[in-house]
Amino acid sequence: MNATAESYVTEDGRTIGAPVMEMKNITLKFGGITALSNISFDIREGEIRAIIGPNGAGKSSMLNVINGFYHPQEGEIWFHGEKRKPMKPYQIARQGIARTFQNIALFKGMSTLDNIMTGRLTHMKTNLFWQAIWKGPAEREESENRDIVEHVIDFLEIQAIRKTPVGRLPYGLQKRVELGRALAAQPKLLLLDEPMAGMNVEEKEDMSRFILDVNDEFGTTIALIEHDMGVVMDISDRVVVLDYGKKIGDGTPDEVRNNQDVIDAYLGVAHD
């Protein structure tokens, strides 16, 4: 990998472009606790970027900073070559950043279809008047977006549960529906917070396949947090390693695997 090049082609033939998002010297504090300290890294267009680290390393905080739930005290966030002003999470979502959550945050009372339809909200523009009479633009918009959602449903192979309220679905499927909701937004950047947490081997394989397919078919840029090292090393192009809120490694899976600091952080190091 060449970090300075504008774009390059991976071994499996995908093109990785210029940075979509750049985090520059991000510091996030909660009172006296420093959750993230002076962290910089970038996410390139079309790549799968993993953020890993032991428990409490600040991975989820990092994702929450990108998505706007947390506002860092210091540092800059650049998105598509522009410095981002402090924004509300819903404004960031409208900019094209979608996410999933570690502890599934679906709309439990709503059907799979309706949940995924909410992912289209940022793309739907008709005003309340047309919606109220449900004719003309509103009807057309509804069916156009419905087509996209049906495509996502086919892609994730969840046709059978379209009408089921998601609260009744098993855990693995809920995770998949949540991915569907994020995908429906056709995001420029997709954030996945532990997409495979709590899954069995089979479900993990399915999910890995979906993540790779999403990246491959739609060219979606993905940043993900994951605990399962095997999975991370298999699917990601580059990996950032955090420990106690500091960045201790950044590079391809091979580079990270051989980084002494990373090995120490994961296996512990003898203090002598």
């Binding site: 739930f69 509300k88 679906l106 309706d114 909410t118 739907m124 109220a132 449900w134 509804e142």
Partner: protein, 330 residues
């Protein structure tokens, strides 16, 4: 057919229609409770305020006339014009929507992430404020509201059913009640359709379900709150018109909110169909009880029947008929 049987049917029919009127008030509570978890104590006063505004506009009353006269020694009373009913209804709706904006701007926005009880207290304050503000704006005397709906017993039905039994004078059903029922049913049907088949409806349900997830898909909570309070204002206006036409626009109108409470306990705080069915059960229940048992225990059972029924429900099914079951993991 026996006389008692026919009377029972009449009682049930009247009960159903009264029940729908209760549902209309309960509906406003459910809308706001679902979307923001706030029990809006001011819902009844909102209905009163909406009805007062409507009457004031219809009569061409000068808002704050009394206040202005006292301060400046003028003798304002009425504008030289009267606003046609339809236009006045639209304007009253506009006022309620403006009110929703103000509630979001000056109350909800400052109470984000507070406990529900804090928000509840805020709505109590809001209720008293609106009550006083309404009086100041339109005067506190009892007003007659006429929006052109027919009133009094339905003659056709009465004559058509007369003589069905020995000594039966025909069903007495109030025209206004029938209209109110029809309008309430149409209102509920369109609300349900709106929330199921439009993007804003979907956003409303999403916010009701999970705030954080709603933010992450690009829903602005503030605009949803404005929409929900506007909808509740709209429902309050409809309820205000119906109850106002029935019993005059006066302070006691705001107390119908108290009748909505047992309806909510029966139907569940989070269910729109629940509000409807709950209202009907209470309407029919209290009328039937009064009709059949009332005479033996001295009558006036309608005053307490609903509350006792709600109390029984609280013991055996606290989430109501349609409410979401509250399960807490330990």
């Amino acid at each position: 057919m026996s006389l008692t049987f026919l009377y029972t049917i009449e009682v049930i029919a009247n009960g159903l229609m009264t029940g729908v009127m209760y549902s209309l008030v309960a509906l406003g509570f459910v809308l706001i409770f679902k979307a923001s978890g706030v029990f809006n104590y001011a819902q009844g006063v909102m209905a009163l305020f909406a009805a007062m505004t409507l009457v004031g506009l219809q009569n061409g009353q000068v808002p704050f006339a009394h206040l202005i006269n006292t301060m400046f020694g003028t003798h304002l009373d009425k504008f030289p014009w009267q606003v046609p009913t339809f236009l006045a209804i639209l304007m009253a709706l506009g006022v309620m929507i403006g009110f929703a904006f103000l509630v979001e701007r000056y109350i909800l926005r400052h109470l984000i992430n507070q406990d529900p009880i804090i928000l509840f207290m805020a709505t109590i304050g809001l209720a008293y404020f609106m009550e006083g503000f309404g009086d100041l704006m339109w005067g506190s005397e009892i007003k007659k509201l006429d929006v052109g709906l027919p009133q009094g017993g339905n003659v056709w039905l009465e004559s058509a059913t007369e003589g069905w039994a020995e000594g039966f004078y025909g069903f007495y059903i109030d025209n206004l009640d029938m209209w109110a029922t029809g309008i309430a049913v149409a209102l509920v049907a369109s609300l349900i359709a709106f929330s199921n088949y439009t993007k804003t409806g979907r956003a409303l349900r999403a916010v009701a379900d999970d705030n954080q997830a709603a933010l992450s898909v690009g829903i602005s909570l503030r605009s949803i709150w404005v929409i929900v309070w506007s909808l509740a204002g709209f429902v309050a206006l409809v309820a205000g018109i119906m109850w106002g036409a029935k019993s005059g626009v006066q302070f006691s109108l705001s107390l119908i909110a108290l009748k909505a409470l047992p309806v909510l306990m029966l139907g569940g705080f989070t269910s729109i169909p629940g509000a409807i069915v709950g209202g009907m059960i209470i309407g029919v229940g209290e009328k039937l009880f009064e009709f059949s048992i009332g005479p033996y225990i001295g009558g006036a059972t309608e005053n307490w029947f609903a509350y006792v029924l709600a109390l029984i429900f609280l013991v055996f099914r606290p989430q109501g008929l349609f409410g979401e079951k509250i399960i807490e993991r330990v």
